[in-house]
């Protein structure tokens, strides 16, 4: 079997169920692949791992992937299992924020490490300064949990539909206590959780073949996971080395993730790509990327895989 290593963007959780399912259910084996899945974590930049040669393919968000490309990392999107964005901004109703017009004067929390790019784009589209000056908002870096929102250190916080939002609910708040702004609804959504590899790999026919088989099996995994969310969540739990995940949370996460992968057969929709690029380019004075990227995606793999 051919060896292949996948670097995830984040820790083992249902967000990556498709890959774990493919591994557990033998879809990779069927394609004669021996896949290793490396969980990510804070401060692990998957691009570094990819370029360092410790992984062959990685899961990443398009904004940070494009930013990395601008910084000289020749990475290419080869598949896009996630059709829609799960990103949203969740505010406590009691702070009196009902629409984006109310943002000025408030503190918005977001993760950084490349995850802040969509929020900055949004704010610049709205024309708000982000340095806390008059008429603008204060952007606060928060860590990957929702405590700052619950403890009112920030008034709004970045959440994912499938994870942090439910942590807020689990903490004891109700939908009625919250106001949520989905990036999808605001027309500023960017592509999340695509598969990327290096240009170097794509120049190697053998590797292209491996990646094709990998994408095919992964998509099979994703479709299985969409249909059997509970079983998929169980599989993820089994692969969680930290033993920190809970069953209820992962099952719910899986059902939410299924909504995001639903519209995708694995091939990147160029329209989505262009929309993401537009959002990133339009971000005012300090845009995430400065020019339209060329060759940042390819259908070569998915075309071969999905036939």
């Amino acid at each position: 079997a051919d060896d292949l290593t996948l670097q995830l963007k984040w820790v083992t959780q249902a967000q990556f169920a498709g890959y774990y399912v493919a591994l557990e259910e033998g879809f990779y084996e069927d394609e004669d692949l021996n896949v290793t899945i490396k969980p990510g974590g804070p401060d692990i930049a998957p691009v570094q791992v990819l370029l360092g040669g410790a992984a062959d393919v990685m899961v990443d968000w398009l904004p940070s992937a494009l930013a990395a490309r601008e910084n000289g990392a020749p990475i290419v999107n080869i598949a896009q299992p996630f059709k829609s964005s799960g990103l949203m901004l969740t505010c406590l109703k009691e702070h009196g924020i009902e629409s984006p017009e109310d943002f000025p004067g408030h503190t918005l929390g977001t993760w950084f490490f490349g995850n802040e790019l969509p929020l900055y784009s949004w704010m610049s589209k709205l024309g708000y300064a982000t340095d806390g000056s008059e008429g603008g908002v204060t952007i606060q870096k928060i860590n990957f949990n929702v405590d700052p929102l619950l403890q009112k250190q920030v008034e709004c916080a970045t959440t994912m539909t499938y994870n942090e939002y439910w942590q807020v609910i689990d903490a004891g708040l109700t939908e009625d206590d919250l106001v949520v702004f989905k990036y999808e609804d605001q027309g500023i959504s960017t592509l999340e959780d695509g598969l990327y590899t290096t240009e170097e790999n794509l120049a190697d026919p053998e590797m292209v073949d491996k990646l094709t088989r990998f994408v095919r099996a992964s998509m099979k995994g994703w479709k299985y996971a969409e249909e059997n969310p509970d079983a998929a969540a169980e599989i993820v739990l089994d692969y969680d080395d930290t033993g920190a995940q809970t069953e209820a949370h992962q099952k719910r996460m899986m059902s939410e993730v299924a909504k995001l992968t639903a519209g995708s057969n694995g091939a990147l929709d160029p329209a989505d790509f262009d929309r993401t690029v537009d959002v990133l380019l339009s971000s005012g004075a300090d845009p995430v990327i400065t020019s339209k990227p060329e060759g940042a995606w390819t259908h070569e793999i998915t075309d071969a895989a999905l036939n």
Binding site: Q48, G72, A73, K141
Partner: protein, 312 residues
């Protein structure tokens, strides 16, 4: 020449001088045989070391400065060579020249981060932590009961890993520099306390007996005998904790900070693959940290000039 000879056994120097021809050439040749680039790197390294050994054999204040500088410069050259010869991608390890360029390009970011992290976070935490530790050491010094109780528990608390404590401090003290100072205080308090308590015990029996014959009071013994005698230990603590304070402040920023600070920059720029900026911050941290340490070491020399280890 006094007992210096023993201090710097000649063996190593001789090795370099006598076999100065054969051994290095053998190294270079064998390394070059494995890989020509490696051969070049080894050659530069050995050459620089030889020069350094030669410089170090002269004991002048200028060589005291030149030796470490040369050593550092050698490391930088080797780094640059390695990056170029092996085509290491800059998103994994940028070359020193690229880092230097970045430092020249964004001094304002670096300065603002420095102020936030070092002057607000680390320094205030350092002063509070060391002050509190010394006062606590003096306070519990009179009570063997408290010492026996507090020190083990204190060791336990000191062993709480900073990565676990920092998020909690951020939760309690918010995102500003105060939480960083709190982390620094927790990190340095016990090392400092232990050193001071140890130091307060470090008097010789005869020195204590002398004070007894004067029927000196507790405070007199403290100020005239025990604190001076404790100074080598206290400075040991002060020196160790300089680096702890800096690391503590930076690492704490990983767990919550305003959108500036060295830790903030380091932790978030990796995600954007701005590795040059990351390394620029690391360089600043290393330089500032070394200066901090050097400053305290200088103070130590002035205060504990009498100690055998300072008299050389």
């Amino acid at each position: 020449m006094s007992y210096r000879d023993l201090k710097y056994g000649r063996t190593a120097d001789m090795l370099l001088r006598m076999d100065g021809i054969f051994l290095p050439i053998a190294c270079v040749v064998s390394a070059g045989w494995i890989d020509p680039s490696l051969g070049m790197i080894v050659a530069v390294w050995l050459g620089a070391w030889w020069v350094n050994a030669w410089i170090a054999s002269y004991d002048m204040s200028i060589t005291r400065l030149a030796a470490p500088v040369l050593f550092g410069a050698t490391l930088l050259v080797l780094w640059e060579m390695a990056v170029r010869l092996y085509n290491i991608p800059s998103v994994i390890l940028p070359a020193p020249s690229a880092i230097a360029a970045r430092m020249a390009a964004s001094p304002d970011i670096l300065w603002a981060d420095l102020v936030q992290t070092v002057f607000k976070g680390a320094l205030s935490g350092y002063l509070i932590g060391c002050g509190a530790a010394v006062l606590t050491a003096i306070a519990i010094d009179r009570s063997p009961f408290l010492q026996r109780g507090l020190l083990p528990v204190g060791n336990f608390v000191a062993a709480l890993p900073i990565v676990g404590v920092a998020p909690i401090m951020v939760m309690w003290f918010n995102f500003g520099w105060e939480s960083k100072a709190a982390v620094v205080v927790i990190m340095i308090f016990f090392p400092m306390l232990v050193n001071t308590v140890e130091g307060l015990k470090a008097t010789e029996a005869m020195q204590r007996d002398l004070m007894k014959t004067y029927s000196a009071g507790y405070w007199q013994t403290l100020f005239k005998l025990r604190l001076p005698a404790a100074m080598p230990f206290i400075f040991n603590g002060l020196k160790i904790t300089t680096t702890l304070a800096l690391i503590g402040a930076i690492v704490a920023e990983f767990f919550g900070s305003p959108v500036l600070g060295m830790g903030f920059r380091i932790s978030t720029s990796i995600g954007l693959l701005e590795l040059e900026l990351v390394w620029a911050e690391i360089v600043v941290a290393a330089v500032v940290g070394s200066m901090f340490y050097g400053g305290v070491a200088l103070l130590e020399r002035m205060v504990t000039f009498w100690h055998p280890s300072q008299r050389g």
